[in-house]
């Protein structure tokens, strides 16, 4: 009998516990994010301190997050999805609620692309090279260089069907080279060993497990700045800068809290902080960037809306190229 009573108590306890866990505190915002942990921690701490709102964070890869939001669409759990690639948000805009932030006037026009999502910061696709493994004259200079079979097994990047930044690389090569694009990209892909996630790419380059990483400028900078054997190469045949986005979830449990958070992220002091701490480029006109100015980098015209519209088809083609991997 005792055991039965005990298990009864347990079930009751578990239910009470669930109810306790489910009861939302008065002021809380739930954020799904693909931003690096250090950035998430710093910004959410600061937000909680400034506003008194508790921030609940789920951190995962952007693909995982979108899938999760889609799975929860009937009863959304998140208010804001933050730091997910613009074209990825655009092609999933059925999950998002339209919202124009209070800072709209100060946002770079090039980053103002969609009503369904806002830019959070700007990212730049670059190569990172291990300076112990390669001499400067050996660095790959262009995307086309990376297609050379001599790089076989020496390059790392994430899967384009799981990582927003890897998809950007793919779409960048296709944009630069037009009809030749697929063949060149396929040759690059054949040289790549996949990293488990885009966050691991520079770790592998830093540790000498790969000579070259295809990555984001800010992520590579994190290693370079802290003394890692990493140098950043801007592709001479062009690269793309795109807004890393954030958006309000359709049917969010606390939409007002979500909006407040998005406005806060785009405010001048927070953007200054983002640039300083994360080496990202700002989404605002009035925040300067300390690294290579964007004007001296060859950037291409990366049409997010067009690419987003083709995203499913591009990924299908990508899978055919990566078949069996």
């Amino acid at each position: 009998m005792k055991a039965i009573r005990l298990s009864g108590t347990l079930v009751a306890g578990a239910i009470a516990f669930a109810a306790f866990a489910a009861s939302a505190q008065t002021k809380e915002v739930v954020i799904y994010t693909a931003a690096p942990g250090a950035v998430v921690d710093a910004l959410t701490d600061r937000y909680a301190k400034e506003t008194g709102v508790k921030v609940q964070v789920v951190k995962a890869g952007s693909g995982d997050l979108i899938r999760r939001v889609r799975a929860e669409a009937a009863a959304p759990k998140a208010d804001v999805i933050w730091s997910v690639g613009g074209e990825q948000l655009e092609s999933n805009k059925d999950l998002l609620a339209e919202f124009t932030t209070a800072e709209d006037a100060a946002i770079l026009p090039a980053y103002k692309i969609s009503k369904s999502w806002s830019p959070y910061s700007g990212i730049l696709a670059v190569f990172s090279v291990n300076t112990k493994m390669l001499k400067p004259e050996q660095y790959p200079k262009t995307w086309k260089d990376l297609a050379d079979p001599r790089w076989k097994g020496k390059i790392t990047s994430a899967r384009a069907d799981a990582s927003g930044s890897a998809f950007q690389q793919y779409a960048t090569v296709l944009t630069i080279y037009g009809n030749e694009g697929p063949a060149i990209y396929k040759a690059i892909l054949d040289n790549i060993n996949f990293a488990t996630s885009s966050g691991v790419v520079n770790r592998l380059v830093n540790d000498g497990e790969a000579a070259v990483g295809i990555t984001l400028e800010d992520d590579a900078m994190q290693y370079k700045k802290n003394g890692g054997p990493i140098e950043i190469v801007m592709p001479a045949d062009g690269t793309s800068t795109v807004p890393d986005g954030m958006a309000l979830i359709k049917g969010a449990p606390s939409p007002e809290e979500g909006k407040k958070f998005m406005n806060w992220v785009l405010s001048k002091p927070v953007q200054d902080y983002v640039v300083k701490e994360t080496n990202r480029r700002s989404a605002r006109i009035d925040t300067p960037f300390p690294g290579t100015p964007i004007t001296s980098i060859k950037t291409i015209d990366y049409d997010i809306l067009k690419i987003a519209a083709q995203r499913d088809e591009l990924l299908r083609q990508w899978r055919t190229m990566a078949v069996g991997r």
């Binding site: 005792k2 055991a3 669930a18 999933n92």
Partner: protein, 543 residues
């Protein structure tokens, strides 16, 4: 069965648990594998069995499964034989190291192998500097090697017990008939412990084919069913969910076939060893002693490499994500601030899950072993399912099943607890069942014939005799519950984050210093939990 029998409501409750927590969520996944574009069809399955790439994936799955199993069996049974048949100094140390190898931190373990044996790995480069060239660990052989080293401790711990229980009289009889030691081993001893060997081999096989982290991190393009399912699930194209489900279910099906095969093979081989002469350990000397000691210690140390590397790296000095020369506590400083949530969650969730597992598992174990009927037999059969369902699949099934009214549990701690509970319940059920087979039912029947109700008879007579078995099982459950990653990863939200999930996040950020510090903390928590539990159990015996 005549009077109001407490076991009838228990049986009903057991079926309610199994139907609600197992059949319903997995049924949803099964159903989704038959749906393409809103219509019922076998298309996903015909696709898998007609496309060469999927067939290759299935082939690879068997390759790493059998490779990992054979490797783990050779290492685990070999070590168990040496330790239980010869005088090896410091057996406890070997057992502790085997345990450490077993609780090897989730996910980051595979990276430790890269740090040491990767293209630029420490061991590889040092060996290269003295002229020994070994290939980097990447690829299929590396995956199989890691599986063998990751899963041999399970084989060792299970078979060592069996070796110790083999009666000496049988071996002595063979010896007196002039059978050579080697032949004796293969014709007497190994057949006697066959149930333990096949059971642990099966475990190694099932764990090898369900592991997606290792092939993903060091497989370098090696695709197995687990990685395929994971990739299809995590890609953001909705249309692949059915295919992902189908692949997961094929994985589950393969494991299930082997579970049934093992049961069928072992259907007759039940040996009762109690009361016989226990085997004894032979003294060894000279070179043979040296070899055996080096082999035994070398093996458990090799198996503990991921854990040892992780602890070492957690104390390396760091700047940002970059390791610097020398030692420091920066990694710990960086995680300390937001540590309370994951630690508290890990402790609460695993404690609740383990208590529930112990109570429910003991009752079910008794029901299945002592009250045999069609209903309990079927229960026994269904309870093998959690053994073979990969954690990610279970997590996805739970997320889908418990996100609709009236049972919206997604986002709560309860759903994480329930997933851990159902995943680990069968282990306790079967260990209680095994312990019960060594306890005669006569005592309990005597109590009942004296008018004690069945429920009380169980509690007062049988349960106390079961306690050692239950405690051992509970410890295993606690260790695995605290280190559960795969299902929690799919089910957590910010406030329900656990330590293994926190570690995983650090790993996908490339922040190995942080991941190492977190893993070391989790390891310390696990060890403290084990010590506290065995201390409590000892006090319980005494009182």
């Amino acid at each position: 069965m005549t009077r109001r029998d407490i076991w009838t409501p228990v049986l009903i409750a057991a079926w309610a648990i199994v139907l609600g927590l197992l059949v319903w969520p997995l049924g949803k996944i099964l159903l989704s594998s038959f749906i393409v574009d809103g219509e019922y069809t076998f298309a996903n399955y015909t696709l898998i069995f007609s496309e060469p790439r999927f067939l290759r994936t299935i082939g690879n799955t068997f390759l790493v499964g059998f490779g990992g199993m054979i490797g783990a069996l050779i290492l685990g049974v070999g070590l168990a034989f040496v330790v239980s048949r010869f005088e090896i100094r410091g057996r406890t140390a070997i057992e502790v190291l085997a345990l450490i190898a077993m609780v090897s931190p989730p996910f980051i373990g595979a990276y430790s192998w890269i740090v040491l044996f990767g293209a630029n790995g420490l061991v590889r480069t040092s060996l290269a500097s003295i002229g020994i060239d070994i290939p980097p660990i990447y690829g299929t052989p590396g995956v199989i090697m890691v599986f063998a080293l990751k899963f041999f401790p399970q084989v060792f711990l299970i078979t060592a017990g069996a070796f110790a229980a083999v009666s000496r009289s049988l071996e002595e009889a063979a010896e007196s008939l002039g059978v050579s030691p080697t032949r004796r081993l293969f014709t007497i001893t190994l057949p006697l412990i066959m149930p333990a060997i096949t059971a642990s081999g099966l475990l190694a096989f099932v764990m090898s084919i369900a592991d997606f982290g290792t092939p993903q991190i060091i497989g370098r393009g090696l695709q197995v069913l687990a990685t395929q399912a994971y990739i299809l699930y995590s890609a953001d194209l909705g249309s692949n969910q059915g295919l992902a489900s189908a692949i997961s279910l094929i994985l589950v099906g393969i494991s299930m076939v082997f579970v049934l095969l093992q049961r069928w093979m072992m259907r007759r081989d039940i040996y009762h060893n109690s009361g016989m002469k226990r085997a004894e350990r032979r003294p060894i000397a000279g070179l043979k002693s040296l070899y055996l000691h080096v082999a035994a210690y070398g093996l458990v140390l090799l198996g503990s490499i991921p854990t040892i590397t992780v602890i070492y790296y957690s104390f390396r000095r760091t700047r940002g994500p970059v390791f610097q020369d020398g030692f420091g506590l920066q990694s710990y400083e960086r995680v300390l601030q937001r540590l309370s949530d994951p630690i508290i969650n890990t402790l609460i969730y695993s404690a609740i899950a383990v208590v529930a597992i112990v109570v429910v598992g003991t009752l079910l174990g008794y029901l299945i072993t002592r009250r045999r009927s069609l209903a309990t037999g079927a229960l026994d059969g269904i309870l093998t399912v959690p053994y073979v369902v990969p954690g990610v699949v279970m997590g996805i099934a739970y997320a889908a099943a418990f996100n609709v009214a009236p049972l919206v549990l997604t986002g709560t701690g309860a759903i994480i607890i329930l997933a851990i509970f159902i995943r680990r319940l069968p282990y306790t059920v079967s260990s209680v069942g095994a312990a019960l087979r060594q306890i005669s039912p006569n005592l309990e029947q005597a109590a009942m014939s004296l008018g004690v109700p069945p429920g009380r008879a169980f509690l007062k007579v049988t349960a106390p005799l079961l306690i050692p078995g239950i405690v051992a099982g509970a410890m295993m459950s606690l260790v695995t519950a605290m280190n559960e990653l795969s299902s929690s990863l799919v089910l957590y939200i910010g406030r329900t984050i656990t330590m293994p999930v926190r570690i995983y996040i650090a790993v996908i950020d490339g922040e190995y210093g942080i991941a190492a510090a977190l893993s070391t903390i989790l390891l310390a928590m696990t060890i403290v939990a084990i010590l506290a539990m065995s201390y409590a159990a000892k006090r319980q015996y005494k009182s």
